[in-house]
Symmetry: C2
Subunit: 330 residues, 2 copies
């Protein structure tokens, strides 16, 4: 097997040019109650406010906007737990091509509805008995559509990195330097892309990957110095966006080199972070999107006297689950 | 009675200098789903992200930061349905004076808790049988505390205007001019302060006051060309922040001169706006804070082909009510 080609910071910069005027330059916000709670200065990158409600639009748009006319005519196929699905559908709609998305049957309804709202077609599969990669590849072969994977793709990863580029620039305009930043990871495209940006723009900043406690494949891989999966048959997590089995082929070479470490949070801690975001930040954050915030609030990320960047990566959560969380029933 | 002295744009600018580094320069965000829904370009001023979860911190800080040392020693007293309460408590805490707040017994628990979290003392009263003005004045007399009213105050109104100053500057940096802006009103300090900023910085922009349908005292007053109250014994509204009986002494001279018109929304339309904000904007907005958005979504504000600014003025809502709203039970 040849070494996969991973993007560099130049590719992130190139993606930023492509995304200009299409993706939202999401705000980096600060909240006094949060600063007080953790004893440091926290700046929150609100990718919940991105087109399609998560950072995934960045990578999808960066990839699909490079389609040839012939590829546009054949359309795009993607497999996703839901946020990449919506990002691809929204990007495809804007670029003028059609999208078919393979989604797990147990993913949040809001994500299925979101894909449809952006004009996408949905094919459900069973997360526990079927392989989304195989189904995606099969449909791509049948229809001639171009498969855009959720993280193991050069341009997708570079696109996600634009969130980090913005963070570094926004911090600079505030006159501060991040001591550490953290972003949630499934396959690791977002956190890896962010790490590329910080390596170039703010090399002293430590980058931490945030994972659900039972889906800690980045933590295990960083410790082992080789790519390994999380323990088999983990308990289900409500962080539906963060359940990839191991770091990606494209992401791991970057992440293994640039990540300072891994932090994790239990579902209960993630629910607490979602409640904190509701109560004090007034932001709707989905479970997976709140994972890095949960790692800050549970003390895994040391904020005392430091400047910390936290990515709130998505806000696509069903009202029923959200009501349970804010009522404290999760 | 002498004509009350209302602030001018110079006072708003002065407030902005005072608030620098203390209030959040809240983001002006854009959402593709919202633009598509109304057929125009909408920029949302997110005062939900302000210190204390509403714009009220601006006016409170502007007023209390001008206290003499003697006044600081005697403390501040305020009456408020909850957002001014928290704004005053948060400002008092930062400035180093104590706050006692007179709040209606039926106001949201989150607002009472917020005051206490900012170190304030709470005195509850009955909204339907007692006068908050009288109670506030009595406590001020007993304790020697300085009364800071929620809208009928020169510096409070000037402080609220800084939200409008920011909106005009942020729009300019985006290269756009608002055709119209709208903000919710109880006594009218926010919308009036905003109107002062737009008169100076963007005089072609129309400013509309947004009110709950049954608490439409600005609409009635603008039509009558004199200050009148809303109809007696209106049905209760869940827009707890917007229930003042009539425009204020300090606000009306400005509002009667500068407001282009009034728009209104029913509680059901406000609930729909809150659901839209949850589903598409990923922002937690309280009923009163969503009133201008509701007036946009119900068609009262014409957005077709225009650039519209909408103020989301607060996000302090109890989880129980919020769960009912997002479940569609309101």
């Amino acid at each position: 097997m040849t070494t996969p080609i991973s993007p560099t910071f130049a590719d992130v910069q190139d993606a930023a040019v492509r995304l200009r005027g299409h993706a939202v330059v999401t705000p980096l916000i600060e909240n006094a109650a949060l600063n007080e709670r953790v004893g440091g200065r926290v700046l929150l990158k609100c990718e919940t406010l991105q087109v399609s409600g998560s950072f995934k639009f960045r990578g999808a748009y960066n990839r699909i906007s490079r389609f040839s006319d012939d590829e546009k005519a054949r359309g795009v196929v993607a497999y996703s737990s839901g946020n990449h699905a919506q990002g691809v559908a929204a990007a495809a709609q804007r670029i003028g091509t059609r999208a078919l998305i393979v989604m797990p049957h147990d993913c949040p309804q809001v994500k299925v509805d979101g894909v449809k709202a952006f004009g996408g077609e949905v094919r459900l599969y069973d997360r526990w008995t079927e392989s989304r990669e195989e189904i995606g590849a099969q449909i791509a072969a049948e229809r001639g559509s171009v498969l855009v994977p959720p993280f193991d793709d050069f341009h997708v990863m570079a696109g996600q990195g634009t969130a980090g580029l913005e963070m570094a620039e926004q911090a600079k305009s505030l006159g501060v330097t991040f001591d550490a930043v953290s972003a949630p990871a499934s396959g690791g495209g977002l956190v890896g892309g962010i790490a590329l940006a910080f390596e170039a723009l703010s090399p002293a900043t430590e980058v931490y990957v945030a994972e659900p406690a039972a889906y800690n494949d980045h933590a295990l891989s960083l410790t082992a110095h080789e790519r390994v999966g999380h323990a088999p048959n983990p308990p289900p997590s409500f962080c539906d966006a963060l359940m990839a089995p191991r770091p990606g082929d494209v992401t791991w070479p970057v992440n293994s080199r640039l990540l300072k470490g891994a932090v994790s949070a239990t579902d209960a801690e993630v629910a607490e972070a979602m409640r904190f975001a509701f109560r004090w930040l007034k932001l709707v954050v989905e479970p997976g999107g709140a994972c890095a915030l949960a790692c800050l609030l549970n003390g895994s990320i040391d904020a005392q006297g430091r400047v910390i960047g936290i990515v709130l990566s998505g806000g696509n959560v069903d009202p029923g689950l959200y009501a349970e969380v804010i009522a404290g029933r999760r």
